[in-house]
């Protein structure tokens, strides 16, 4: 049948077109599914370092801040500082922050590094790019829909939508309905 030929051509070519973004969305989808357990885009390394004897006067000068940063094992350069409370000075670095508490003598170091691949995948998947990407992602969604529908009719006969395909398609529809029935 002629319509099936065009159906299969559409399914094949959309499949080629969508495979790259689908893999990206798969990776990001799993990563952000577990956002309660981890930060899917950034690796946040926290540690505490003793900086006994550091004084408010020392923290009030750039040289003093440089010295504290060297003591906690970080480079001397920093962006700026901000006193977050009467005992704590937050030092902003290019890739993190250091909270120095002169009362406890503890520096809480937080270094943030983007997770390679995941950061970029999440950027696209969660549409942080906005602008044109919003429309491209919409087109991708439509293409996925077409891919799904055309996929139903690729084969005919016992392995097509009138046979085995009907059962598997039905299972795929029933599964989310069961979850909704259980949880909603």
């Amino acid at each position: 049948m002629k319509w099936r030929k065009w159906n299969n051509i559409l399914h094949r070519d959309l499949g080629y077109l969508c495979v790259g973004l689908t893999v990206i969305y798969v990776v990001s989808g799993v990563a952000v599914n577990h956002i309660a357990d981890w930060n899917p885009s950034f690796d946040v390394d926290r540690r505490e370092v003793a900086v006994a004897g550091v004084t408010p006067a020392e923290l009030a000068t750039p040289d003093g801040v440089h010295a504290v940063l060297v003591r906690v094992g970080l480079g001397p350069s920093y962006r700026t500082t901000f006193p977050t409370d009467s005992a704590t000075l937050r030092i902003f670095l290019e890739d993190g922050v250091v909270d120095v508490n002169h009362e406890t003598g503890i520096a809480a170091v937080e270094v943030v590094r983007p997770r390679p691949i995941l950061r970029q995948a999440n950027f696209l998947h969660l549409n942080h790019a906005k602008r044109l990407w919003t429309w491209l992602a919409d087109l991708y969604a439509v293409a996925l829909g077409l891919l799904a529908v055309t996929g139903l009719f690729v084969l005919k006969g016992k392995k097509g939508i009138t046979g085995r395909g009907a059962w598997l398609t039905g299972a795929g529809i029933v599964l989310p309905l069961v979850v909704l029935w259980l949880y909603l």
């Binding site: 956002i35 930060n39 899917p40 950034f42 946040v44 926290r46 920093y78 962006r79 700026t80 901000f82 006193p83 977050t84 409370d85 009467s86 937050r90 902003f92 670095l93 290019e94 890739d95 922050v97 943030v112 969660l126 549409n127 942080h128 790019a129 906005k130 602008r131 044109l132 990407w133 491209l136």
Partner: protein, 160 residues
Amino acid sequence: MRIPHATAALAVLAVLGTACRPAQESSGTSYGEPLTLADTTQLAAVLENPDGYIGQKLLLAGTVVNVCEKRGCWLELGGELEHQTLRVKVDDGVIVFPMSARGRQAVVEGVMEKIDLTEEEAREQARAHAEEMGEAFDPASVTGPQTIYQLKGLGAVIAE
């Protein structure tokens, strides 16, 4: 003249890449809606009398002291006075502030709002915040209902 497929594909990717980049202005990177107000309000004045600004659209400037780590859905803006910050909350996913904004100067426009929390709500919010920041949470630290003042952020420009 025939353009090789690879060249055409690269050209398309370059155009897409440019179109998808956050808007760069001479003063920094823009997030959300364009800023409409010309005059900034002193953050210290807002924090001194927050009730007087409820419902008002404000333009605030200051240092980005903190950013929501997981979703980029809020930032804390530090003003002219030490220890004083105001949370700028944006709708999840609509604006995403990057963690690299910490320590940068920002100008933020939004509407001042007041949220009254029951003790239970306040405890849950403190727990979620502590978890997000990787800090220990002591339920006893919340001893009663709380009132939160924050700016519902609409747009921002963060300096590079």
